[in-house]
Each structure stands twice: as structure tokens, then as C-alpha cells.
Amino acid sequence: MKQEPDDDQHWLDLMAGRAAPEADARTRKEAAWFRAALLSYRLGAPPGAPTAPDERAARLLTRARDAGVIATAANEPQGKFKPARRWWLAAGIAACALLLVRVPSLWTEDESHTLRAGAAMQRIVSPTPMQHRDQMLQALTGAGFDAHPYERLGRPGIDIDLPVPLPPIQADALRKLGLLPPKGPALQIEFILPPESARQ
């Protein structure tokens, strides 16, 4: 059954639901039936279900990292902090300073704010941990850090992914926020109540 090239084009147009007035009757009939059947008996997805979205997204990101499309925290290039982001960093630090001025109560109670330095975890004692965490988070993200909030055993905290080695501009930014720049690729900050409040 040899078809002319035009006839195949007519067949395609009819299959796609477009008019093909020059198509011959046989082609019209063939396409009309085939199209109607394909539309009526649409093929569904196979049995089963896709992977849960979170798991799927995690696998996608791992794959993208393996392919070098996105960098891991440990090998994030230093050049990541581009000129445009320096502006944000400066603005973030300024915003943080402003925030601290506007909320003096957090920083006037010097005795209750003890910073304990650790390699990857730093704790800040605060009478209002949640509020303090949110303010710090805002300051960090405003300064261009990749910071995420978390809560563990009722203690609010912040996870920060950092490049290694840490660029001086980011190290300075952390110091200005009262944090010690860590050596590793991540920093956790936890906000805890003073011992006397925790006992009550």
C-alpha cells in the first residue's frame, strides 16, 4: 500500500484534528477512526505510584550535584559571592545593625547572652529564643547566607551552609553578627533559654 507524501501529510493533519480538505476519502476515514479511538481509549499511567515528592526531589538534587550542575556546600566556589551579592551582604549587615538598634532589649542583657563557640555548633542563650532565632535568620539571609531554620527538642536553631574555605567577606559578616566563623562547610546555631528560665 504505497502512499503519496502529501497523503501522509493529510493523514497527520487529520490525526491532529486539523482540516485537510484535499485528503481522499480513504485517508479521511482511516484517520477519523484512528483519532477517535486514540482519544476515547487514552492510555493511562501504569499501576503503582511515583516516588514521594520529597524523596524524589532529594534524588534529583543528588543527581544534579553528581553531574556538577549544582555545587555541594563543600566545593562551592569562592567566586560565588559576586559583586551583586556583595551589595546584598552589605545591605544585610546594615539591616542587621538597624535591627539590633531597634531591639535593644536583646543586646542590653549582656549577661544572659553567652556565646559558646564550637567547631560546628554555636549556642546563644536568650530569654526569647524563638524571637531571637527569627531575627538572626532574617539578618543572615539578608546578608546573603544560605540559612534555614529548624527546631530540635524544642530548641529553635539555624543551619547555615558555608563554602570552604570561607571567603573573608563572609567571615567578617558572621563576626559582625556575633558568630565565630567555623572551619567546616556548615554552622548550626541554637538558641537556648537561660538555665534559671529553663528550670521554671
Binding site: 501529510q9 497527520l12 477519523a32 486514540l38 492510555l43 515528592p53
Partner: protein
Amino acid sequence: MPLSAQSFTQACREGGRQIETWLRVIDREHGARFYREAATSLRCWQAAEDVVQEAMVKVWQRCATFHGPGDPVAWIHQVVRNTLLDALRQRTSQAPHELPLHDEEGQLTAQAQEAVLELSRATVATPERTLGEHQVEAVFRRCFEQFAAAHPEHATVLRWVVEEGLDNAAIEALLERSPGATREFISQCRKKARPFFASWYELVGPA
């Protein structure tokens, strides 16, 4: 973050976290339909995930070739479909055919035709026995399954043509072929489909 051409080109230029955010958002907002579409053609959810994720990585490896101000999601969808067709093509070439199904002109070999007819006789009811609509549907589905098993790429493109009204330009872009090669592909779709649907055409009587 809006999935706009602007945010896409910016992520492509700057990389890092912006790409990660794009990956997360596109997977959350459009992943379900991409995975479902791939699974429908591949008949396997796991293989579908593999194909879609391979496509997502490809998107960012070649993101500089995206020319705005078009819709980047539509462009990504096309990359997903390209990758899916590649997978279907590869699957066909890896299938352990002991005998060639087609002769040099692309027609079913006599042996293959006989095998299809034999399978039809064994599994498909004859026209005399099939009266109800559900039987016609069952025959069509079986014919399509056999067609899709033998020519998955052609079956998938044909389905998209019917369901979405693709024109030659859209098929060219999907296949990444020249206009001439695309016309040949369309012709092959028709030619390759015909023997598989012979028993169904016999039943409904159009050809």
C-alpha cells in the same frame, strides 16, 4: 520564586543555589505531570523518574541555549520529551529481536506479519464474536500495546499528535530532526501502525 524566563536565565548565568531552587520548584509544581507522562510511555514509574531527572540535569547543562522571552517551563517540557523519546529509541534498539521485524522498505516481514496475525487470532476476538463497545476497546488497546511495544517512539509521538494536535514544526522540535526527516518519520508512523491495527480496522471497518 516565579518560573519566569527572567529567573531562568538568571539562574543559568549565576548557577549554584538559584539552579537548586529552580529544580526544587519545577519538580514540585510540574514534576507530577512530567513523571506521569513518561510513565505512561515507558509503562514503569521508576524508569520514568530516571528519564525525567536525566532531562532536568540536561536542562541546566544546556540552559544557555534557551532563548527567552519564551516560557522556560514549555522549553523544559520539550527537553523532557526529547529525553523520553531517546529512551524509547534506545529501548527499541536494545530489545532482543531475534529476527528483524521489518524489511528494507519498512514493511513488516512476512514472518513478522504471520506472527502478528497468529497473536491476533490467539488473543483478539474475531469480528464475528466482538459485538460490544468494550470488546472493540479491548481490541484497540491490545493492538496499541503491541504497536507501542514494537515501535515505542512512533506510538508515543502519534499519541501526542492526536492528544495535543502537534504540527510538523512541533514534531521537528521534539525529534530534533530536519523537516525532511520529520516527514519521513510521520510516514513511518502510519506505515508501522497499520499492520498492528489490522484486526481492529477489520472490526470497525473504516479502511
